[in-house]
Assembly symmetry: C2
Homo-oligomer: 466 residues x 2
């Protein structure tokens, strides 16, 4: 890694102020990586602009000096999209974190890119509204990063992805110009919806500096059901039965091994004594007595069919929260085994066959490894986690996993699925992009990047190589 030259540092300081350029080892390490730990952080410098104008000045400087920029939010990503490992300048949006222009009629609010997800959630709650995109990292992820990665999470089945809540956004392009896209309108069919292109582009088209986010009416009193399910096909039957009768707020699943791990390490109770291959967690709005009667009638039906072997319904908010922990704590619980994660999807109907094929490959390839399955099965999205045996050196584990990834992605391709359902591509999945996107699609993406970023300074090397 080259150290930043005095000239470059001085020019960066002229853009954002003396104290807003960081080059100490701690800052470079902190701002140069995300939740992945595969690529060592190696940025040239970290800058903390305080305004849109400062971001534009930084981009113009980067053009002059041929500096690569990495836009940086909460860095909670799981694919290396915000990693700076090649002497880039990290542009951290932390200081552009104001919430302004709350509009109760449109139910929108303007957020600086650096607004933390939980900050927006709390802002909404104080106004008896609701920001429904929620996931484990909501305490540190930022709105700009959520948009750049089109973050998903545990409420997608009911409320969609981050994309669905972006009413407008401002982007500083690779030429330093400012695009103000859609401006909070519900309806705007005046030309291409460029906003949609920026959502999920992982910072490769420019730096998101501001967004107008939509808020929702808060859900009423929620009930959580955890069901023991006979097999994967039955999980899908239960989903279909509930979904045809009522709006589900969530439909998650996890395997017996996931449950065992989370119970053993988080001090939680099993929901019931019955042991089953899989468990489904459903959340429904307890709108009226009739709604809960319907939820219970569906449970009876699923039990009669032999799909469901046991179940429990939350009777209080505290019990609902305790049941949610069985699912939500899995990721943290298994992190001690530094799992190799795949975040894959197919259409919902094909999930049972898809999982059976992947399980066969994985069990053959890793007879000695523990495999933990969980995920957003109501969206066709499963997380495949291979746990590292304690005795196995990390490098050898990574090596064996990446070999098997190819076989897994061949199955994903055969099922016309996605190699990254919600985590994005970043650096970690770049080599596998062609399993989900055709050569023509990848070529078009490259050309679109050139339109927004002709000098190739915006998060270069992420998603695809130039």
């Amino acid at each position: 890694m080259n150290a930043a030259s005095p000239e470059v540092l001085s020019a960066l300081r002229a853009c954002v102020g003396e104290d807003r350029v960081l080059v100490d080892a701690g800052a470079l390490e902190h701002y140069g990586r995300d939740w992945t730990r595969v690529h060592p952080a190696a940025p040239l410098a970290v800058v903390l602009p305080g305004s849109v104008g400062e971001v534009q000045a930084l981009v113009r400087l980067a053009l002059e000096r041929q500096l690569a920029l990495v836009p940086s939010g909460g860095r909670t990503g799981l694919s290396g999209g915000a990693v700076a490992c090649q002497g880039e300048v990290v542009v951290a949006l932390d200081r552009i974190n104001q919430i302004t222009d709350f509009n109760p009629v449109d139910r929108t609010v303007r957020c600086g890119a650096g607004v933390v997800t939980a900050q927006l959630q709390a802002f909404a709650q104080e106004r008896e509204l609701f920001y429904p995109v929620d996931f484990a990292s909501s305490g540190s992820s930022q709105i700009g990063g959520n948009i750049a990665t089109n973050a998903g999470g545990i409420k997608v089945i009911r409320h969609g992805m981050t994309r669905d809540w972006v009413a407008g956004l401002k982007l500083v392009t690779g030429t330093g110009e400012l695009l103000d896209l859609n401006r909070g309108l519900v309806k705007n069919n005046a030309g291409y919806d460029l906003r949609q292109l920026v959502v999920g582009a992982e910072g490769t088209l420019g730096i998101i500096v501001e967004a107008t986010m939509r808020l929702a009416r808060p859900p009423q009193d929620l009930a959580v059901l955890v069901l023991a399910v006979a097999d994967m096909a039955a999980v899908m039957r239960v989903l279909e039965a509930y979904q045809s009768a009522m709006d589900l707020q969530a439909f998650e699943f996890f395997s017996e091994l996931a449950l065992q791990k989370v119970v053993a390490h988080q001090g939680l109770q099993r929901p019931f004594d019955t042991v089953a291959p899989f468990y489904a967690l459903l959340e429904v709005e307890r709108g009226s007595a009739a709604d809960m009667e319907q939820a219970m009638a569906l449970f009876e039906h699923c039990a009669e069919q032999g799909w469901v072997l046991d179940g429990v319904v939350s009777q209080s908010v505290a019990q609902a929260q305790a049941l949610w922990r069985l699912r939500e704590d899995i990721s943290e619980t298994i992190s001690r085994w530094t799992p190799y994660k795949n975040d894959i999807s197919t259409t919902i109907a094909r999930v049972p066959d898809f999982l059976a094929e992947i399980e066969a490959v994985v069990n053959e390839a890793y007879p000695d490894f523990e495999i933990v399955w969980f995920g957003h099965i109501g969206d066709g999205n499963v997380h495949l986690n291979v746990l590292k045996p304690d005795a196995l050196p990390m490098a050898e584990f990574q090596q064996r996993c990446s070999e098997v990834s190819r076989w897994v992605f061949e199955i994903v391709q055969r099922y016309e699925g996605s190699i990254s359902a919600e985590h994005g591509v970043g650096l970690l999945k770049k080599a596998y992009l062609h399993y989900s996107r055709s050569p023509l699609e990848i070529q078009i993406m490259r050309q679109i990047k050139q339109v927004f970023d002709p000098a190739g300074i915006m998060n270069p090397g992420k998603i695809f190589d130039a």
Copy 2:
């Protein structure tokens, strides 16, 4: 207009078959225009491909012979997006109209681009599902055209635009290649979502040949409320009161003049004796007795505040349909006055001030004209219709209207609104695009078109000039 050369006709016939190339005056007229009547139809020929392969062959031929292509659906558009007035070859998708691969678990279905909206609605209904995008032209508009224009309509407040129901689409690009975008996945964060770019691009990026459409659980028993409202600001208060308490299926408005016209010409009854400046039409799901009690309590509240002067609630399906006609029949009713239409939007909260400013301009400019207001006020989208006085010649009427359009669009620009909320840009709004989109945005759109259509053969001259 030049007639097609024998060589070109012979080459077109080689692509799609002898009987599938039409050049008679009736066909050229029928397939060369949409619901606008501003530009005379003047296509070179009309072709009716029966497969994706035939569409690709046509595009390759167009590249060789430098033919411009106009993709053509039901041609119910209101902005001239599907008009062929410059010797183009119309590629009508009528024959690619199969519905296949119904997937009850994902609630998706694969539609040829030529599937008529009502055909999809009926298909869904037969399976106890629901295709929620609905508008006046559903009996002849086609799915491919709906996607190309991101069609909206009367259920947007609850169910969104066509964009929200496209789970995947296939596009033949301007180079004759086939893109298969998103393939029905709920979650797919593997690179740019090119599907979103195609939705609303009005055929300028290629020809949509197939789409995977999502279906919904059907709404339960619906109740319709029509309310007499004191003024425009009160309309917004009523919207806010209802929307903060319940999910609205629709929230439409129309003016007293609109009501008078529709009652006089459609043989309908006024909903009540009270005369008010505006009327709001609300649709709510009659989920339970509690829901209707809430709807009535909100009505009482709005009446106490002086916002609502009178109201009626449907007591039967027949009465609900009769109330809907007061709103839905407006467009057809006023068509006898060949209205000059503007389809504009701003954020919802700004609608009262926005309408007041536009009304002042329009009333000053057209003291002798009747102005009919109606639209999807719950989305911030209003239709401004200027009726032609019987005595005024058409050319003079068009001339006076287009002068005033400039003043209207200056207000739209000041309110950061859209010059085309749902009808698209096509030919009719092209000259006004810069009131809603910046020069940089328009430049980016042009460059993106070049990526998909380097030879410029796909619906050239629509939205913007090359």
